[in-house]
């Protein structure tokens, strides 16, 4: 029943409370003597020259798409793995077909060079 989920809710609530409490405690207890230097953006000791909010490279998008596709594949694999014994050989064959179709896609993307970060 739903009691199984109580630990998850406790962890989520604890995480939220901890985050807020730590930030507020720091604000309340810590000394605040801001100078121009302190308030400037930290950039590994370099002088920050312009905004960091630029357009992202399309390569990141490709990585995200690949992630989602194989994420979905894993989601399909999981119920199959749980019911593996009941499904038997027929289930094994259909899942192999499923994976092979996706593998074709993976090899296509591989050959296209989409997995390389140049």
């Amino acid at each position: 029943m739903l009691e199984t989920y109580i630990p998850i809710f406790v962890v989520i609530a604890g995480g939220i409370v901890f985050g807020i409490v730590m930030v507020k405690l720091n604000e309340w207890l810590g000394p605040r003597r801001p100078t121009d230097e302190k308030l400037s953006t930290y950039e590994s000791g370099m002088e920050p020259v312009r905004t960091a909010r630029e357009r992202f490279s399309v390569k990141f998008y490709m990585v995200a798409v690949l992630f989602i596709l194989f994420d979905i594949e894993v989601v399909f694999l999981y119920p199959w793995a749980v019911a593996f014994k009941e499904l038997g050989v027929a289930g094994y064959i259909t899942m192999t077909v499923f994976i092979v179709i996706l593998l074709i896609g993976l090899f296509y993307v591989w050959r296209k060079g989409a997995l390389e970060w140049d």
């Binding site: 630029e54 399909f76 019911a83 499904l87 899942m95 077909v97 179709i101 996706l102 896609g105």
Partner: protein, 168 residues
């Protein structure tokens, strides 16, 4: 079941409030981040419906994947520096017509549907083995078509996102 009702309204509130922010916010980045809480609230509602697998899938795919993709989409398409990433109200009249039709349909379905009140089950039912069995027996064709759809998405993304490189 009192706690159940409280938790339900909590998640419903999270979902609706963040969905309202998604629509109302002028800054599209804020909209994208508010969508995180909408997806999370929906996952909570799935848990209350005892659909544990769907809830985990919601978190894994929507929160973990789709949202990242949306954020990348925002970062990719807008010229962040010169043009403000802002949403505007355009084409009000067609939008009102479409939304009215959609809302009317949904409300009509809501009223005409007979909502069954199932008896509270006394054990935690494991839905995942049943999903696995149904997926690979009764719903085999949709399952295999899903792999073809994923393949198309994979090839489409590779075609759009990458410049053609010389064949190996």
């Amino acid at each position: 079941m009192d706690l159940y009702i409280i938790v339900f309204y909590l998640f419903a509130l999270i979902t609706l409030a963040s969905a309202a922010i998604v629509v109302i916010s002028k800054n599209i980045v804020y909209s994208a981040f508010a969508l995180l809480f909408t997806f999370f609230g929906v996952a909570g509602l799935y848990v209350l419906l005892m659909a544990d697998f769907i809830a985990v899938t919601q978190l894994l795919i929507y929160v973990g994947g789709i949202l990242v993709l949306l954020l990348f989409g925002v970062m990719l398409t807008t010229k962040v520096i010169r043009v403000d990433m802002r949403t505007a109200t355009v084409r009000t009249f067609p939008a009102v017509v479409i939304v009215a039709a959609l809302a009317g349909t949904l409300i009509g379905i809501f009223w005409s549907t007979d909502w069954p009140q199932s008896p509270a089950s006394d054990g935690f039912e494991r839905t995942i083995p049943q999903i696995g069995e149904m997926l690979l027996t009764s719903y085999l064709l949709p399952f295999e078509i899903a792999s073809v759809v994923l393949l198309v998405a994979l090839i489409g993304a590779a075609m759009i996102a990458r410049r053609e490189r010389k064949a190996l």
